[in-house]
Subunit: 453 residues, 2 copies
């Protein structure tokens, strides 16, 4: 019945999703504030049409949160669906094969910024809900909380959650903002890394200088910053910030073995990325490096003359965006503090350093023995014909820790993307098949979860 | 007589210079090709008005060269004046207090891109020549060669010089494109560093990746580039490229002592630059580090996300512009080759590296015992009341070596800028006093030089 509903409505589902994808709701770009709001308003209307009892555009100090609910019967269990309608900036624009906000389907994939992360995945929930309403099969209560600041650190979600505890009362949180291993290997994310995202500014002389007149005598902030960044890893690929690993939970041999059981081909991995060699912390496999180990990456660097040709400048300033992925039991506040202290400590006297924390989130592990996780597993088994593999993901969804702390609720991370979907990159895409199977799997989750309660 | 001529014409001199400064002749910016040409045409007209026998806009494969001459009597000595009418890009624009191509006088200084480097200094020569023509005091022959590609490596000057050897026949080359120590301490540059200017590109994965999904397992090109740059200096501030110092001429204790006799206050230096400490090669003073030692500086770096806010990207590529200042007897071709080889050698297998040479020039030392150098010294003594100090400058004027090799001519570097003029930086300026005294000193040079021949 659900299969048929999806099949007969799939063109409309895609048309509606395309309409949402056309709105450039880049939360990081203050010039696009109006478009971010437009995306929220679009969802408000779609929730209404799908048959919620109430839906509200909730104002925050930043971008609004869309809250909607359908209470079938207060005695039934309640699922709280979380997602986000904001997207990453599309830069660098020139690497997109089609414009980021003009979605197109090519080879069975929807190409657009946000197609996978997270508009496409959020919209599966809206359409799964619509289907259950139309087919009169919704087996439990459902609430939706869709925010517009996930890509910039969910700054106002904490306040909203704390101020709306009663309204957000639920039994489980369901999030589709992660990936499966492949279409042949469905998986459920059982762990997520946390994040500390910093911006650093290194200032040398009080103005750009002529590198011929001053070079060699005055500290060059780009050279100094490079040296500081280089010193953040040792020869074994370990982060050198004192105390960085102190609280890291070391997994048992059995747990590590389980993680490494996931199908993984190093040759395919290298081939798909176009690299001749991998690189990471000594003593860990690629799956461990991205799943259970904390990391440090420069996300952006700039300073001096970056235009065409040659300019012999000794720049006054150099900048970098540096982020660290965290694992249980690291705390993002603590790591942010350790980084700041260390980065100031390693700066030579010849420069001044400014460190700013841009955003962060706690690492999280979700239990795999809960009724909800088992329901998600059964839903995949039913729709995909295969038992999903529990995985540890490298990405961060800081709100998982927030929900646990503030609402006391566990989260099920039932995502349908693929690592190769190029989220946060040019040419982000999402499989039409992933989108349609996702809707079906979500409906199956509701059924299994309701039965188990 | 010359003093009076300058005084009564100074407003017109400045008005004309301002007209030249208003033309944005940025040779590095291909969109401004027309403006670069306009600056050349402006000079053609001014040479005509000043009374040259012939003037020609000589086409090259790049920007044109202006050649003019006045032959008083073939038996008299001939001075060949070299300069350039192109300027550095004005970026970063937001740091200019007034627009770079709208010259203004503030506190006795002309603020504009090119005011000092080199339009202001070239124009002193045009007006010194005009004065001698009008006063009928030109004591020798004079030729002018003013190019439009100095700031991008003088790519086509070599060909022009080689193809016009007869036409460029002269006894000495006179260049005003350097600085004096201060208005109280006139000086003449007796040595110039060479230059090898490189651009490097480090490629990791074939696309920007999500730093959460891939971070820690895939080499990050920004981190890798930072590490490579950091490794280019050792703990003593020496460049680590194998063979880099092999041909460097080590100066005698007496020569080093002479260099360090120049008036220099480390406190004032640090204060003027707003730095708490200097930094450079161990065992050398600041004057030595910028005068007689080769150096390596990053002039620009970029990669990943550099916009507002946070984007958790593991970039595909990172770039840097890296230049080395060279001293006698280093060769820029050889150093370019050593750099390229070394940079490729230190790249880990996890990335691909591309190294491009952007431009270069040979280091040069000019004799201080020649008739021309002595005439320049006497000219300063006459006009400034003080004997000028011979200095070694950090900047590069690659054409000095070219003129020696191709024309067999020595160069006198009689510049009138100040190190604090912010050439190549925002708010470049040039003292009105430097401009006017410069004209007078140039006229005095012609007189002394003609007498000594």
């Amino acid at each position: 019945m659900i299969k048929q509903y999806i099949e007969s409505n799939q063109q409309r589902f895609l048309d509606e999703l395309f309409e949402l994808l056309r709105i450039p709701s880049v939360s990081a770009d203050s010039r696009l504030k109006g478009d971010v709001r437009k995306a929220a308003e679009f969802l408000v209307n779609k929730f209404k049409e799908a048959g919620v009892d109430t839906v509200e555009l909730c104002e925050t100090k930043g971008h609004p949160i869309v809250f909607a609910e359908k209470i079938v019967n207060p005695s039934l269990p309640t699922v709280l669906v979380y997602g986000h309608y904001d997207v990453q900036p599309p830069d660098p624009l020139d690497l997109w094969h089609s414009p980021p906000f003009e979605p197109v389907i090519k080879d069975g994939k929807i190409y657009a910024r946000g197609s996978c992360d997270d508009k496409g995945q959020v919209y599966m929930h809206v359409k799964a809900f619509e289907a259950m309403m139309k087919l009169k099969t919704l087996p439990c209560n459902v609430k939706f909380m869709v925010e517009g600041e996930e890509e910039v650190g969910s700054d106002n979600l904490g306040t909203f959650v704390r101020e709306n505890k009663a309204r957000l009362k639920a039994d489980i949180i369901l999030v589709s903002d992660t990936a499966i291993i492949s279409l042949d290997h469905p998986s459920i994310t059982a762990g997520l890394r946390g994040l500390s995202y910093m911006e650093v500014e290194v200032t040398g002389p009080n103005r750009d200088l002529h590198s011929g007149v001053y070079g060699g005598a005055v500290a060059n902030p780009v050279n100094v910053l490079s040296k500081m960044i280089a010193s953040l890893h040792d020869e074994n690929g370990r982060v050198t910030i004192p105390g960085f690993y102190d609280k890291v939970v070391e997994l048992s041999a059995a747990d590590r073995e389980a993680i490494n059981k996931a199908p993984f081909s190093l040759d395919n991995y290298k081939k798909e990325l176009g690299i001749d060699d991998i690189q990471g912390e000594k003593g860990y496999t690629t799956l461990e490096r991205t799943g259970i180990r904390p990391t440090l990456d420069v996300n952006g660097i700039w300073g001096g003359y970056t235009g065409e040709g040659a300019k012999t400048v000794l720049p006054s300033k150099a900048f970098a965006k540096i982020s660290m992925r965290l694992v249980p039991n690291q705390s993002n506040e603590e790591i942010t503090e350790l980084f700041t202290k260390h980065f100031n400590a390693i700066a030579p006297k010849s420069v001044k350093v400014k460190v700013t924390a841009l955003h962060g989130g706690q690492p999280a592990v979700t239990p795999t023995d809960s009724a909800a996780f088992k329901a998600a597993s059964a839903a995949f088994q039913e729709v995909w014909g295969k038992k999903p593999i529990p995985t540890r993901d490298g990405g961060s969804i800081p709100i998982v820790a927030l929900f646990k702390d503030e609402l006391g609720l566990d989260t099920v991370l039932m995502g349908f993307g693929l690592d190769s979907d190029a989220i946060h990159s040019p040419n982000e895409h999402y499989g039409v098949k992933n989108f349609l199977l996702g809707i079906e799997t979500i409906v199956a989750f509701y059924n299994h979860y309701s039965k188990s309660n």
